[in-house]
């Protein structure tokens, strides 16, 4: 039965129209992804009404391909101009831009493209084969478990702020504070909104992110004398990587892809969270932690494999149970609904024709992404030949368009500039922005799920330890917290010394 459906889907996706839709969707995804300020979720939301003229499978396949394409596209801007094209590419900046500055932009983009491709393929395979089995994981995550996930995520701040723990924690706390702005969804009380209803829904994460990264970069570009600025236009290296470069990255690809798939499955977390988890794990697993943040290939491969793996992961509960795994898939589900397809467990049976076409479209979009990605990236590299003064203005214009287009609201353009100024001064004071971003992403989840859990337990904190999933996650969080303190370093040093003596 399932095999029949898989074959049915394959023949359906190979029809001319569907292939064209996937190719066009992926290309469009690459484009919006690469534009700072325009994100996949936004592109899907804007294009959704356009797809109503298509057949459901064609329209939905196209939207899903946009999602896939944008996940790679986001890294192009992150690597070349140090502004994340999509929120899911924020972690790519940390190592992508330094590598590009060394004159290895082509290599950085090649690593990103290969990682995106591998992440996408792995998650597509999960999606095609074991989606019904893994879909159930989504309902295993209620408020208690989500709280533990958020706590685990918070420990990333520790590893992002090595060197200056105080400044990192300061930025992280600032992020948490910003995340409390808006209507408290458990009590219905607006907090820190200054009576402005535009802040009732909280600070839109994408708006803050655009401001924090892109505006300081635009200013930075014009601050220095043109001739003094290190230009990244000397692309002498190839985008297609030789095998010897790829081989050492394979464990990172696989680990990050798995992180991406599982983060995708958990409702409420998507690429913007997965990229940090993967980056953190790559750093933890590495022997050479010092190279991270200075252009490490692992630091590019990890977030990029993870954010593309999220696409398949987020679709797993979406198609097997009708539970969206991320904000982009929530819009996709809405799209299905509007096409007259009831999202729910019947997607894989009653609407198998549409669903399996979509699954194959996701799989194929990886290949389109790779092929179109090479061409597109080559074109994008010319960005670095543009005069910095022009580029700077272009970035600001895109930021304004992007922050307006998210909710069609001018207030958010102002908010974006506010965060831009904050980002600029944080940069001057050498306070890392990344922990702020992590705090802002996870803060709301942390706050809401904690409150909900305590309501469920009638105020008992033991609920977090009685629940096996949350207990394990909290234990891992505690361990990684200890790992980033000096105590652990000393303990390891003494152990190494002992084993050295024994030898």
């Amino acid at each position: 039965m399932i095999l029949d459906n898989i074959l049915l889907g394959l023949t359906s996706v190979l029809s001319g129209y569907n292939l064209l839709a996937v190719a066009a969707g992926t290309g469009l995804g690459l484009f919006v992804g690469a534009m700072p300020g325009l994100s996949a979720t936004m592109a899907i939301a804007i294009l959704l009404p356009v797809t109503f003229v298509f057949k459901p499978e064609t329209g939905i396949s196209m939207l899903a391909s946009i999602y896939m394409g944008a996940m790679y596209g986001g890294s192009i801007a992150a690597i070349l101009i140090r502004t994340p094209g999509t929120p899911a590419a924020a972690a790519t900046i940390l190592d992508g831009y330094p590598m590009a500055q060394r004159g290895e932009a082509g290599r950085a983009l090649g690593i990103s493209l290969t990682a995106s491709f591998v992440g996408g393929i792995i998650s597509s395979l999960f999606l095609l084969t074991v989606a019904p089995v893994l879909g159930g994981i989504a309902v295993m995550f209620g408020p208690v478990e989500l709280f533990a996930v958020a706590v685990l995520g918070m420990t990333i701040i520790g590893s992002l702020s090595q060197g200056s723990a105080i400044k990192g924690l300061l930025a992280g706390s600032l992020g948490l504070l910003f995340s409390t702005v808006g209507m408290d969804s458990v009590t219905g009380i607006p907090r820190f909104t200054l009576g402005n209803i535009n802040l009732f829904s909280g600070i839109p994460f994408t708006v803050a992110l655009i401001g924090l990264f892109s505006i300081p970069q635009a200013i930075r570009l014009i601050e220095k004398e043109e001739s003094l600025v290190e230009r990244v236009n000397l692309i002498t290296d190839r985008i297609l990587l030789p095998w010897r470069e790829i081989r050492p990255l394979i464990p990172t690809f696989i680990r990050s892809s798995l992180i991406g798939v599982f983060t995708g499955i958990i409702p409420g977390t998507g690429g913007d969270t997965a990229c940090w988890f993967a980056y953190n794990e790559a750093k933890r697993a590495s022997d050479d932690k010092e190279s991270f943040g200075k252009g490490s290939p692992y630091g590019i491969a990890a977030p990029e494999a993870a954010n593309n793996a999220v696409v398949g992961g987020a679709l797993i509960p979406t198609i097997s149970l009708g539970i969206p795994g991320s904000s982009s898939t929530a819009i996709l589900l809405g799209g299905l609904m509007i096409h007259g397809i009831m999202p729910g467990p019947t997607l894989m049976t009653e609407y198998a024709g549409v669903t399996y076409t979509l699954l194959w479209a996701i799989f194929l979009s990886n290949f389109f992404m790779f092929a179109e990605g090479i061409l597109f990236t080559k074109a994008c590299i010319f960005v670095t030949r543009i005069s910095n003064k022009v580029l700077s203005v272009a970035i600001v214009v895109l930021c304004v368009i992007g922050s307006f287009a998210i909710n069609n609201n001018f207030f958010e353009v102002g908010l974006m500039f506010g965060f831009g100024i904050l980002g600029y001064f944080m940069d001057k004071l050498k306070i890392p922005v990344a922990p702020l971003v992590v705090g802002l992403i996870l803060g709301r989840m942390l706050d809401v799920s904690l409150h909900q859990s305590l309501l469920m337990s009638q105020g008992s904190w033991m609920i977090f330890l009685e629940n096996p999933i949350s207990a394990v996650l909290l234990f891992i969080a505690l361990f990684s917290l200890i790992q980033s303190t000096p105590i652990y370093g000393r303990w390891r040093a003494s152990r190494r010394k002992k084993s050295g003596e024994a030898r």
Binding site: P143, I197, F200, S201, P267, I338, P345, N407, N408
Partner: protein, 326 residues
């Protein structure tokens, strides 16, 4: 040759002017903008995409959706009430109870329904109580018995403070004298998903939203808050049958700003009446488990007004518990 071109040109011009004048006389002559207070792909958008193809046929003009999400719809509705032109070319999808509870609960939100001209309600998604398929509560009697024995201990989810499920729970508590531990979630989805995963004892939700899961057997419906049993789920008793006079749900329709010309209002209402009679529209609604509940003009306004009064009373009773003493 040249002469004949001139004649053709003049003729074309004449036709254009006449067409323009004819159009000037009758609303609508251009696209109608629909403000949406929620994201594309959400419940409001679903209604928009469901109704607009039929409305376009009925009114002879196309609709264009503008999405202004934020503050549970309040940003779009404030715009509709305060700044939209009162010419009938700007409408909004208005959903209850958010349309009223927004300003009842938050003094910062300044619009209210007296500034709107309700055109037509289209659908109402009735309230429902659902539990996981392996829940110990097989029937509504089991559930109510457990609630009676453990007052304030049974955890029931809702879609958020101020949402329809939140108010349904409060009204039901009042009618039954029972007390639940209410858990607000961020939307209907997380609420039923928590019930399905056994994280909470039950979810007060909506029929149309949970129907696919009920049909697939992942969720069990215990009771529905409608006047009569609903044909999709004939075995599920209504709260009324059980002796609790609670009928509740969330409704979606279209409203214009107050002060649009009377003829324009009539034209719009006529278009909705025409749409309601189209068999394709009825079929499209049934396919999506959307429950048609047409109410036009004054009837819709009356419904909104009555709800507003009811929500005010309930909110005043529980306000302190949620927002503290002021």
């Amino acid at each position: 040759m040249r002469k004949s071109r001139w004649i053709v040109g003049i003729l074309v011009l004449l036709v254009c002017v006449m067409a323009g004048q004819a159009a000037f006389a009758e609303y609508p002559t251009k696209q109608i903008t629909v403000l949406q207070g929620f994201k594309a792909g959400g419940g409001s958008d679903t209604l928009a995409q469901l109704t607009q193809p039929f409305l376009e046929k009925a009114i002879g003009q196309s609709f264009i959706n503008q999405y202004i999400p934020g503050a549970t719809g309040a940003i779009a509705w404030t715009q509709l009430a305060k700044t939209a032109k009162k010419d009938g070319y700007t409408l909004s999808i208005t959903n209850t109870p958010m349309l009223q509870t927004n300003y009842i609960m938050n003094p910062e939100i300044t619009y209210n329904i007296s500034e709107l001209e309700p055109i037509a309600n289209v659908v109402t998604d009735p309230g429902i109580i659902v539990v996981a398929k392996d829940s110990p509560y097989k029937t509504v009697e089991d559930f109510l018995k457990a609630a009676k024995e453990n007052p304030g201990k049974l955890t029931v989810g809702n879609s958020g403070v101020g949402g329809d499920d939140f108010f349904t729970t409060l009204i039901f508590e009042k009618a039954s004298g029972l007390k639940f531990q209410m858990i607000p979630f961020e939307g209907d989805g997380p609420s039923w998903q928590a019930a399905m995963g056994g994280k909470i004892d039950a979810s007060f939700n909506n029929l149309g939203i949970t129907y696919p899961q009920i049909k697939a057997g992942n969720l069990r419906a215990l009771a529905v808050f409608t006047e009569n049993r609903y044909e999709l789920i004939p075995d599920v008793p209504t709260a009324k049958e059980l002796g609790y006079n609670v009928v509740s749900g969330s409704s979606r329709g279209y409203s214009a700003p107050k002060g649009i010309p009377a003829e324009t209002r009539d034209t719009l209402i006529a278009a909705f009446k025409k749409m309601a009679e189209m068999p394709e529209f009825v079929k499209a609604c049934n396919d999506r488990a959307s429950i048609i509940d047409m109410k036009f003009g004054d009837d819709y306004a009356k419904m909104l007004k009555e709800q507003e009064a009811a929500f005010k009373i309930i909110w005043d009773e529980v306000k302190e518990q949620y927002q503290g003493k002021k």
